[in-house]
Protein backbone atom coordinates (compact mmCIF):
# COMPACT_ATOMS: atom_id res chain seq x y z
CA UNK A 1 0.00 0.00 0.00
CA UNK A 2 1.52 3.33 -1.01
CA UNK A 3 1.36 6.40 1.14
CA UNK A 4 -1.39 7.96 -0.89
CA UNK A 5 -3.84 5.08 -0.60
CA UNK A 6 -2.96 4.90 3.07
CA UNK A 7 -4.02 8.53 3.47
CA UNK A 8 -7.24 7.93 1.51
CA UNK A 9 -7.93 4.88 3.58
CA UNK A 10 -7.57 6.96 6.76
CA UNK A 11 -9.98 9.54 5.36
CA UNK A 12 -12.53 6.84 4.63
CA UNK A 13 -12.10 5.28 8.07
CA UNK A 14 -12.54 8.67 9.71
CA UNK A 15 -15.83 9.17 7.88
CA UNK A 16 -17.00 5.69 8.77
CA UNK A 17 -16.17 6.23 12.42
CA UNK A 18 -18.00 9.53 12.53
CA UNK A 19 -20.99 7.80 10.97
CA UNK A 20 -20.83 5.11 13.61
CA UNK A 21 -20.68 7.67 16.39
CA UNK A 22 -23.73 9.44 14.98
CA UNK A 23 -25.64 6.17 14.85
CA UNK A 24 -24.55 5.33 18.37
CA UNK A 25 -25.81 8.66 19.71
CA UNK A 26 -29.08 8.22 17.86
CA UNK A 27 -29.55 4.69 19.20
CA UNK A 28 -28.76 5.81 22.71
CA UNK A 29 -31.34 8.57 22.53
CA UNK A 30 -33.98 6.19 21.21
CA UNK A 31 -33.14 3.73 23.94
CA UNK A 32 -33.49 6.24 26.75
CA UNK A 33 -36.83 7.31 25.30
CA UNK A 34 -37.92 3.66 25.23
CA UNK A 35 -36.81 3.11 28.81
CA UNK A 36 -38.78 6.16 29.86
CA UNK A 37 -41.97 4.96 28.21
CA UNK A 38 -41.35 1.50 29.61
CA UNK A 39 -41.21 2.81 33.16
CA UNK A 40 -44.33 4.87 32.58
CA UNK A 41 -46.17 1.86 31.19
CA UNK A 42 -45.01 -0.32 34.05
CA UNK A 43 -46.31 2.19 36.57
CA UNK A 44 -49.59 2.51 34.74
CA UNK A 45 -49.87 -1.26 34.50
CA UNK A 46 -49.26 -1.56 38.21
CA UNK A 47 -51.95 0.97 39.03
CA UNK A 48 -54.38 -0.69 36.66
CA UNK A 49 -53.64 -4.05 38.18
CA UNK A 50 -54.20 -2.74 41.66
CA UNK A 51 -57.48 -1.28 40.49
CA UNK A 52 -58.38 -4.60 38.88
CA UNK A 53 -57.58 -6.55 42.05
CA UNK A 54 -59.69 -4.09 44.00
CA UNK A 55 -62.64 -4.58 41.70
CA UNK A 56 -62.24 -8.34 41.73
CA UNK A 57 -62.06 -8.35 45.49
CA UNK A 58 -65.21 -6.30 45.74
CA UNK A 59 -66.98 -8.75 43.47
CA UNK A 60 -65.65 -11.67 45.46
CA UNK A 61 -66.85 -10.14 48.69
CA UNK A 62 -70.32 -9.80 47.25
CA UNK A 63 -70.49 -13.30 45.84
CA UNK A 64 -68.63 -14.97 48.65
CA UNK A 65 -70.18 -17.99 50.24
CA UNK A 66 -67.38 -18.83 52.63
CA UNK A 67 -68.42 -16.97 55.70
CA UNK A 68 -66.02 -18.64 58.10
CA UNK A 69 -63.28 -16.12 57.44
CA UNK A 70 -63.63 -12.47 58.25
CA UNK A 71 -63.47 -9.96 55.41
CA UNK A 72 -59.97 -8.83 56.25
CA UNK A 73 -58.71 -12.40 56.42
CA UNK A 74 -60.30 -13.11 53.09
CA UNK A 75 -58.47 -10.15 51.64
CA UNK A 76 -55.26 -11.61 52.97
CA UNK A 77 -56.14 -15.00 51.55
CA UNK A 78 -56.77 -13.37 48.19
CA UNK A 79 -53.40 -11.63 48.24
CA UNK A 80 -51.77 -14.88 49.32
CA UNK A 81 -53.39 -16.74 46.44
CA UNK A 82 -52.17 -14.03 44.08
CA UNK A 83 -48.71 -15.22 45.06
CA UNK A 84 -47.62 -12.79 47.74
CA UNK A 85 -46.65 -13.27 51.35
CA UNK A 86 -48.98 -11.81 53.95
CA UNK A 87 -47.00 -12.86 57.02
CA UNK A 88 -45.03 -10.31 58.99
CA UNK A 89 -41.78 -12.05 58.11
CA UNK A 90 -41.91 -11.76 54.33
CA UNK A 91 -44.86 -9.36 54.01
CA UNK A 92 -45.36 -8.14 50.46
CA UNK A 93 -42.63 -10.17 48.83
CA UNK A 94 -43.46 -12.65 46.14
CA UNK A 95 -43.83 -16.31 47.09
CA UNK A 96 -41.05 -17.96 45.12
CA UNK A 97 -42.28 -20.76 42.86
CA UNK A 98 -45.63 -20.31 44.59
CA UNK A 99 -44.29 -22.23 47.56
CA UNK A 100 -46.58 -22.29 50.54
CA UNK A 101 -45.67 -20.41 53.70
CA UNK A 102 -46.55 -21.64 57.18
CA UNK A 103 -46.40 -18.13 58.63
CA UNK A 104 -48.89 -16.80 56.07
CA UNK A 105 -51.23 -19.72 56.66
CA UNK A 106 -51.12 -18.94 60.35
CA UNK A 107 -51.95 -15.29 59.68
CA UNK A 108 -54.89 -16.24 57.45
CA UNK A 109 -56.36 -19.23 59.26
CA UNK A 110 -54.66 -19.28 62.64
CA UNK A 111 -56.42 -18.61 65.87
CA UNK A 112 -55.75 -15.17 67.15
CA UNK A 113 -56.42 -15.68 70.83
CA UNK A 114 -53.55 -18.05 71.37
Amino acid sequence: MDKRTLYDEFDRLEEDTQGLVRKLVEMKQTMSKLIETNVNLEMENKHLRERLIEIEERQLELSSTKQELSKSRMNLEKIYEEGFHVCNIYYGSRRENDEECAFCLDVIYGERNK
Binding site: E81, C87, N88, I89, Y90, S93, E96, E99, E100, C101, A102, F103, C104, L105, D106, Y109, G110, K114
Partner: protein, 376 residues
Protein backbone atom coordinates in the same frame (compact mmCIF):
# COMPACT_ATOMS: atom_id res chain seq x y z
CA UNK B 1 9.67 -21.88 66.95
CA UNK B 2 10.86 -25.38 66.15
CA UNK B 3 9.10 -28.71 66.41
CA UNK B 4 8.85 -32.19 64.90
CA UNK B 5 5.52 -33.94 64.45
CA UNK B 6 3.87 -36.94 62.84
CA UNK B 7 2.70 -35.84 59.40
CA UNK B 8 -0.73 -37.58 59.44
CA UNK B 9 -1.58 -36.33 62.90
CA UNK B 10 -0.66 -32.82 61.84
CA UNK B 11 -2.64 -33.10 58.60
CA UNK B 12 -5.75 -34.17 60.50
CA UNK B 13 -5.55 -31.07 62.70
CA UNK B 14 -4.91 -28.90 59.67
CA UNK B 15 -7.94 -30.34 57.87
CA UNK B 16 -10.16 -29.44 60.82
CA UNK B 17 -9.10 -25.81 61.03
CA UNK B 18 -9.25 -25.47 57.26
CA UNK B 19 -13.01 -25.87 57.49
CA UNK B 20 -13.05 -22.34 58.78
CA UNK B 21 -10.56 -20.94 56.28
CA UNK B 22 -11.90 -19.46 53.09
CA UNK B 23 -9.77 -18.23 50.20
CA UNK B 24 -12.35 -15.51 49.56
CA UNK B 25 -11.96 -13.23 52.53
CA UNK B 26 -11.64 -9.50 52.77
CA UNK B 27 -9.04 -9.78 55.52
CA UNK B 28 -5.93 -11.24 53.84
CA UNK B 29 -4.39 -12.73 56.99
CA UNK B 30 -7.49 -14.94 57.43
CA UNK B 31 -6.45 -16.98 54.38
CA UNK B 32 -3.71 -18.26 56.65
CA UNK B 33 -3.55 -20.76 59.44
CA UNK B 34 -2.11 -19.60 62.75
CA UNK B 35 0.32 -22.01 64.38
CA UNK B 36 1.23 -21.51 68.01
CA UNK B 37 3.71 -23.68 69.85
CA UNK B 38 3.73 -23.72 73.63
CA UNK B 39 5.26 -26.02 76.19
CA UNK B 40 2.08 -28.17 76.30
CA UNK B 41 1.61 -28.66 72.61
CA UNK B 42 0.71 -27.22 69.28
CA UNK B 43 -2.40 -25.21 68.53
CA UNK B 44 -3.74 -24.35 65.08
CA UNK B 45 -6.33 -21.65 64.34
CA UNK B 46 -8.41 -20.95 61.26
CA UNK B 47 -11.12 -18.36 60.90
CA UNK B 48 -13.47 -16.55 58.58
CA UNK B 49 -16.03 -13.89 59.40
CA UNK B 50 -18.53 -16.47 60.65
CA UNK B 51 -16.69 -19.29 62.33
CA UNK B 52 -13.30 -19.82 63.95
CA UNK B 53 -11.79 -23.17 64.81
CA UNK B 54 -8.88 -23.72 67.15
CA UNK B 55 -7.47 -27.21 67.64
CA UNK B 56 -4.90 -28.40 70.12
CA UNK B 57 -2.41 -31.19 69.64
CA UNK B 58 -1.08 -32.18 73.04
CA UNK B 59 2.51 -33.15 73.62
CA UNK B 60 1.09 -36.14 75.53
CA UNK B 61 -0.65 -37.51 72.42
CA UNK B 62 1.59 -40.47 71.54
CA UNK B 63 0.40 -40.86 67.97
CA UNK B 64 1.35 -37.30 67.20
CA UNK B 65 5.01 -37.88 68.18
CA UNK B 66 5.31 -34.19 68.97
CA UNK B 67 8.68 -32.93 70.13
CA UNK B 68 9.13 -29.27 70.85
CA UNK B 69 12.47 -27.57 70.68
CA UNK B 70 11.50 -23.94 70.84
CA UNK B 71 8.21 -22.13 71.42
CA UNK B 72 6.82 -19.54 69.03
CA UNK B 73 4.09 -18.64 66.59
CA UNK B 74 3.60 -18.01 62.86
CA UNK B 75 0.84 -17.62 60.27
CA UNK B 76 1.12 -19.56 56.98
CA UNK B 77 -1.04 -19.54 53.84
CA UNK B 78 -3.40 -22.44 54.50
CA UNK B 79 -3.93 -23.63 50.94
CA UNK B 80 -0.36 -24.27 49.84
CA UNK B 81 0.80 -25.17 53.33
CA UNK B 82 -1.66 -28.05 53.35
CA UNK B 83 -0.47 -29.16 49.89
CA UNK B 84 3.14 -29.08 51.01
CA UNK B 85 2.49 -31.15 54.13
CA UNK B 86 0.37 -33.62 52.16
CA UNK B 87 3.16 -34.25 49.64
CA UNK B 88 6.12 -34.51 52.02
CA UNK B 89 8.02 -37.80 51.69
CA UNK B 90 8.44 -39.02 55.29
CA UNK B 91 6.03 -39.83 58.13
CA UNK B 92 7.36 -37.00 60.27
CA UNK B 93 8.19 -33.40 59.55
CA UNK B 94 10.14 -30.66 61.23
CA UNK B 95 9.20 -27.01 61.09
CA UNK B 96 11.38 -24.14 62.14
CA UNK B 97 10.75 -20.42 62.00
CA UNK B 98 13.79 -18.54 60.73
CA UNK B 99 14.28 -14.79 60.68
CA UNK B 100 11.79 -12.47 58.93
CA UNK B 101 8.91 -14.91 59.40
CA UNK B 102 10.42 -17.43 57.03
CA UNK B 103 9.60 -21.03 57.76
CA UNK B 104 11.78 -24.02 57.07
CA UNK B 105 9.87 -27.29 56.57
CA UNK B 106 11.94 -30.46 56.44
CA UNK B 107 10.86 -34.03 55.90
CA UNK B 108 13.47 -36.57 54.90
CA UNK B 109 15.43 -35.14 52.02
CA UNK B 110 12.85 -32.50 51.08
CA UNK B 111 13.23 -29.01 52.45
CA UNK B 112 10.92 -26.04 51.85
CA UNK B 113 11.47 -22.47 52.87
CA UNK B 114 8.26 -20.45 52.72
CA UNK B 115 7.28 -16.94 53.74
CA UNK B 116 4.91 -16.61 56.66
CA UNK B 117 3.19 -13.71 58.36
CA UNK B 118 3.66 -12.31 61.83
CA UNK B 119 1.35 -14.16 64.24
CA UNK B 120 0.77 -10.97 66.25
CA UNK B 121 -1.21 -9.46 63.39
CA UNK B 122 -3.71 -12.34 63.43
CA UNK B 123 -7.07 -11.25 64.89
CA UNK B 124 -7.79 -12.35 68.44
CA UNK B 125 -10.53 -14.88 69.00
CA UNK B 126 -13.34 -13.72 71.25
CA UNK B 127 -12.90 -14.31 74.95
CA UNK B 128 -15.82 -16.27 76.27
CA UNK B 129 -16.90 -16.55 79.85
CA UNK B 130 -16.52 -20.24 80.52
CA UNK B 131 -18.42 -20.26 83.77
CA UNK B 132 -21.72 -20.25 81.95
CA UNK B 133 -21.68 -23.63 80.26
CA UNK B 134 -23.99 -26.27 78.97
CA UNK B 135 -22.46 -29.76 78.73
CA UNK B 136 -23.79 -32.26 76.19
CA UNK B 137 -22.42 -35.48 74.72
CA UNK B 138 -21.27 -34.92 71.13
CA UNK B 139 -23.66 -37.66 70.02
CA UNK B 140 -26.67 -35.76 71.38
CA UNK B 141 -25.59 -32.47 69.82
CA UNK B 142 -24.99 -34.18 66.47
CA UNK B 143 -28.45 -35.67 66.62
CA UNK B 144 -30.06 -32.29 67.27
CA UNK B 145 -28.07 -30.77 64.42
CA UNK B 146 -29.13 -33.51 62.01
CA UNK B 147 -32.74 -33.19 63.06
CA UNK B 148 -33.02 -29.45 62.58
CA UNK B 149 -30.46 -27.90 60.23
CA UNK B 150 -31.93 -29.44 57.09
CA UNK B 151 -34.99 -27.21 57.57
CA UNK B 152 -33.16 -23.87 57.69
CA UNK B 153 -33.77 -21.42 54.88
CA UNK B 154 -31.15 -21.25 52.14
CA UNK B 155 -32.26 -17.80 51.02
CA UNK B 156 -30.56 -14.72 52.35
CA UNK B 157 -33.72 -12.64 51.97
CA UNK B 158 -34.48 -13.22 55.65
CA UNK B 159 -31.09 -14.01 57.18
CA UNK B 160 -32.60 -14.89 60.55
CA UNK B 161 -34.27 -17.97 59.03
CA UNK B 162 -30.89 -19.34 57.89
CA UNK B 163 -30.20 -20.13 61.53
CA UNK B 164 -31.37 -22.61 64.11
CA UNK B 165 -33.21 -21.02 67.00
CA UNK B 166 -31.88 -22.48 70.29
CA UNK B 167 -33.59 -21.72 73.55
CA UNK B 168 -32.54 -22.95 76.96
CA UNK B 169 -35.10 -22.49 79.67
CA UNK B 170 -36.40 -24.50 82.62
CA UNK B 171 -33.91 -27.36 82.12
CA UNK B 172 -34.95 -27.88 78.51
CA UNK B 173 -33.06 -27.15 75.33
CA UNK B 174 -35.26 -26.38 72.36
CA UNK B 175 -33.90 -26.21 68.81
CA UNK B 176 -36.14 -25.16 65.95
CA UNK B 177 -35.50 -24.37 62.29
CA UNK B 178 -37.86 -23.32 59.53
CA UNK B 179 -37.72 -21.98 55.99
CA UNK B 180 -41.42 -21.09 56.22
CA UNK B 181 -42.35 -24.11 54.06
CA UNK B 182 -41.56 -26.67 56.73
CA UNK B 183 -40.37 -26.68 60.29
CA UNK B 184 -38.46 -29.04 62.52
CA UNK B 185 -38.26 -28.79 66.28
CA UNK B 186 -36.48 -30.89 68.87
CA UNK B 187 -36.60 -30.49 72.62
CA UNK B 188 -34.21 -32.28 74.96
CA UNK B 189 -34.04 -32.21 78.71
CA UNK B 190 -30.72 -30.98 80.08
CA UNK B 191 -29.28 -31.34 83.54
CA UNK B 192 -26.89 -28.46 83.96
CA UNK B 193 -28.35 -25.33 85.34
CA UNK B 194 -26.76 -22.52 83.45
CA UNK B 195 -28.27 -19.15 82.71
CA UNK B 196 -31.12 -19.39 80.22
CA UNK B 197 -30.33 -18.33 76.67
CA UNK B 198 -32.17 -17.56 73.47
CA UNK B 199 -29.91 -17.44 70.41
CA UNK B 200 -29.95 -18.10 66.68
CA UNK B 201 -26.94 -20.07 65.41
CA UNK B 202 -26.26 -20.09 61.63
CA UNK B 203 -27.20 -23.46 60.11
CA UNK B 204 -23.97 -23.55 58.13
CA UNK B 205 -21.89 -23.21 61.30
CA UNK B 206 -23.73 -26.13 62.90
CA UNK B 207 -23.12 -28.32 59.86
CA UNK B 208 -19.42 -27.53 59.90
CA UNK B 209 -19.36 -28.14 63.64
CA UNK B 210 -21.01 -31.50 63.23
CA UNK B 211 -18.46 -32.49 60.58
CA UNK B 212 -15.56 -31.33 62.75
CA UNK B 213 -16.29 -33.66 65.65
CA UNK B 214 -14.06 -36.71 65.70
CA UNK B 215 -15.25 -38.57 68.77
CA UNK B 216 -18.99 -39.08 69.36
CA UNK B 217 -18.48 -40.11 72.99
CA UNK B 218 -16.81 -36.88 74.03
CA UNK B 219 -18.53 -34.11 75.95
CA UNK B 220 -18.96 -30.73 74.32
CA UNK B 221 -19.24 -27.60 76.43
CA UNK B 222 -21.38 -24.83 75.02
CA UNK B 223 -20.86 -21.25 76.14
CA UNK B 224 -22.77 -18.24 74.91
CA UNK B 225 -21.64 -14.65 74.70
CA UNK B 226 -23.31 -11.58 73.34
CA UNK B 227 -22.78 -12.38 69.67
CA UNK B 228 -20.70 -15.55 69.76
CA UNK B 229 -21.14 -19.15 70.77
CA UNK B 230 -18.28 -21.45 71.68
CA UNK B 231 -18.42 -25.24 71.36
CA UNK B 232 -15.50 -26.71 73.25
CA UNK B 233 -14.26 -30.28 73.25
CA UNK B 234 -11.02 -31.58 74.69
CA UNK B 235 -8.96 -30.65 71.66
CA UNK B 236 -11.10 -28.21 69.76
CA UNK B 237 -12.60 -24.75 70.24
CA UNK B 238 -15.29 -24.00 67.68
CA UNK B 239 -16.56 -20.40 67.67
CA UNK B 240 -19.50 -19.23 65.64
CA UNK B 241 -21.09 -15.85 65.14
CA UNK B 242 -24.73 -15.65 66.21
CA UNK B 243 -27.43 -14.25 63.95
CA UNK B 244 -28.84 -10.94 65.07
CA UNK B 245 -32.51 -10.15 65.15
CA UNK B 246 -35.69 -11.65 66.46
CA UNK B 247 -36.60 -15.13 65.38
CA UNK B 248 -40.28 -15.30 64.47
CA UNK B 249 -42.59 -16.99 66.93
CA UNK B 250 -42.77 -20.57 65.67
CA UNK B 251 -44.71 -21.89 68.60
CA UNK B 252 -47.98 -20.66 67.26
CA UNK B 253 -47.39 -22.40 63.94
CA UNK B 254 -47.66 -25.80 65.57
CA UNK B 255 -51.34 -26.71 65.81
CA UNK B 256 -52.75 -28.79 68.63
CA UNK B 257 -56.17 -29.82 67.31
CA UNK B 258 -56.39 -32.28 64.46
CA UNK B 259 -59.13 -33.91 62.42
CA UNK B 260 -57.27 -36.80 60.82
CA UNK B 261 -54.45 -38.94 62.21
CA UNK B 262 -52.59 -41.75 60.57
CA UNK B 263 -49.65 -43.93 61.60
CA UNK B 264 -46.95 -45.25 59.28
CA UNK B 265 -43.71 -47.14 59.47
CA UNK B 266 -41.10 -44.52 58.55
CA UNK B 267 -39.16 -46.73 56.14
CA UNK B 268 -42.29 -47.85 54.27
CA UNK B 269 -43.72 -44.37 53.89
CA UNK B 270 -40.33 -43.02 52.83
CA UNK B 271 -39.97 -45.68 50.14
CA UNK B 272 -43.45 -44.92 48.79
CA UNK B 273 -42.81 -41.18 48.75
CA UNK B 274 -39.55 -41.77 46.91
CA UNK B 275 -41.34 -43.83 44.28
CA UNK B 276 -44.05 -41.22 43.81
CA UNK B 277 -41.53 -38.40 43.60
CA UNK B 278 -39.80 -40.06 40.63
CA UNK B 279 -42.51 -38.70 38.37
CA UNK B 280 -43.24 -35.48 40.23
CA UNK B 281 -39.58 -34.49 39.83
CA UNK B 282 -39.85 -34.83 36.08
CA UNK B 283 -43.06 -32.84 35.84
CA UNK B 284 -43.60 -29.15 36.16
CA UNK B 285 -45.25 -29.26 39.57
CA UNK B 286 -43.42 -31.19 42.21
CA UNK B 287 -46.52 -32.42 44.01
CA UNK B 288 -47.88 -35.74 45.28
CA UNK B 289 -51.36 -36.30 46.61
CA UNK B 290 -52.35 -38.36 49.64
CA UNK B 291 -55.92 -39.56 49.78
CA UNK B 292 -57.08 -40.83 53.17
CA UNK B 293 -60.33 -42.60 53.93
CA UNK B 294 -61.24 -45.05 56.67
CA UNK B 295 -60.79 -47.97 54.24
CA UNK B 296 -57.65 -47.06 52.34
CA UNK B 297 -54.77 -44.63 52.06
CA UNK B 298 -53.56 -43.97 48.53
CA UNK B 299 -50.62 -41.92 47.33
CA UNK B 300 -50.88 -40.42 43.83
CA UNK B 301 -48.29 -38.77 41.67
CA UNK B 302 -49.51 -37.20 38.48
CA UNK B 303 -47.45 -35.31 35.91
CA UNK B 304 -49.64 -34.70 32.87
CA UNK B 305 -46.85 -34.73 30.33
CA UNK B 306 -45.05 -37.78 31.75
CA UNK B 307 -47.39 -40.21 33.43
CA UNK B 308 -48.84 -41.07 36.77
CA UNK B 309 -48.26 -43.37 39.72
CA UNK B 310 -50.63 -44.73 42.31
CA UNK B 311 -49.80 -46.72 45.42
CA UNK B 312 -51.98 -48.23 48.11
CA UNK B 313 -50.04 -47.46 51.27
CA UNK B 314 -49.71 -49.86 54.11
CA UNK B 315 -50.36 -48.08 57.36
CA UNK B 316 -50.67 -48.96 61.00
CA UNK B 317 -53.72 -47.04 62.03
CA UNK B 318 -56.02 -44.32 60.75
CA UNK B 319 -58.67 -42.26 62.48
CA UNK B 320 -60.68 -39.14 61.84
CA UNK B 321 -62.20 -37.51 58.78
CA UNK B 322 -61.37 -38.54 55.20
CA UNK B 323 -58.97 -36.10 53.56
CA UNK B 324 -57.24 -35.35 50.24
CA UNK B 325 -54.05 -33.38 50.62
CA UNK B 326 -51.22 -32.46 48.25
CA UNK B 327 -47.67 -31.65 49.20
CA UNK B 328 -44.11 -31.39 47.97
CA UNK B 329 -42.60 -34.88 48.37
CA UNK B 330 -39.09 -33.48 48.94
CA UNK B 331 -40.10 -31.91 52.23
CA UNK B 332 -41.70 -35.17 53.29
CA UNK B 333 -38.55 -37.08 52.34
CA UNK B 334 -36.27 -34.76 54.29
CA UNK B 335 -38.60 -34.96 57.28
CA UNK B 336 -38.79 -38.75 57.25
CA UNK B 337 -35.03 -39.09 56.86
CA UNK B 338 -34.60 -37.10 60.07
CA UNK B 339 -36.71 -39.70 61.90
CA UNK B 340 -34.59 -42.66 60.89
CA UNK B 341 -36.23 -45.88 62.00
CA UNK B 342 -39.46 -46.38 63.90
CA UNK B 343 -43.02 -45.30 63.45
CA UNK B 344 -44.44 -41.89 62.76
CA UNK B 345 -47.87 -40.38 63.27
CA UNK B 346 -48.98 -37.79 60.73
CA UNK B 347 -51.70 -35.40 61.88
CA UNK B 348 -53.84 -33.24 59.61
CA UNK B 349 -56.36 -30.45 60.12
CA UNK B 350 -57.50 -29.69 56.58
CA UNK B 351 -56.06 -29.71 53.03
CA UNK B 352 -54.93 -26.12 53.38
CA UNK B 353 -53.45 -26.19 56.85
CA UNK B 354 -49.95 -27.40 57.74
CA UNK B 355 -49.70 -30.98 58.97
CA UNK B 356 -47.34 -32.45 61.54
CA UNK B 357 -45.17 -35.54 61.86
CA UNK B 358 -44.15 -36.97 65.21
CA UNK B 359 -42.67 -40.24 66.39
CA UNK B 360 -45.46 -42.53 67.58
CA UNK B 361 -44.09 -42.86 71.08
CA UNK B 362 -44.64 -39.16 71.30
CA UNK B 363 -43.58 -37.11 74.24
CA UNK B 364 -43.72 -33.97 72.08
CA UNK B 365 -39.94 -33.73 71.94
CA UNK B 366 -39.55 -34.02 68.19
CA UNK B 367 -42.06 -32.53 65.82
CA UNK B 368 -42.01 -31.56 62.18
CA UNK B 369 -44.40 -29.41 60.25
CA UNK B 370 -45.01 -29.33 56.49
CA UNK B 371 -47.22 -26.92 54.60
CA UNK B 372 -49.42 -28.57 51.98
CA UNK B 373 -49.75 -27.30 48.42
CA UNK B 374 -53.13 -25.76 47.65
CA UNK B 375 -54.65 -27.11 44.48
CA UNK B 376 -57.87 -26.07 42.88
Amino acid sequence: MKFTVNRNAFLAELATVQRAISSKTTIPILTGVKIVLSADGLSLTGSNADISIETFLSIEDEKAELTIEKNGAIVLQARFFNEIIRKLPETTLTMEVLENNQVHIISGKAAFTVNGLDADSYPHLPVIDEKNQLKLPVRVLNKIINETTFAVSLHESRPILTGVHCILSSAKLLAVATDSHRLSQRIIPVEQAMEDFDVVIPGKSLLELSRSFKDEEELVEISIMENQVLFKTKNMYFYSRLLEGNYPDTNRLIPDNFNTEIEFKVTELLAAIERASLLSHEGRNNIVKLSISSESVVLYGNSPEIGNVEEDLSYKNVKGDPLDISFNPDYMKAALKAFGEGEVVVKFISPIRPFTLEPTESDATFIQLITPVRTN
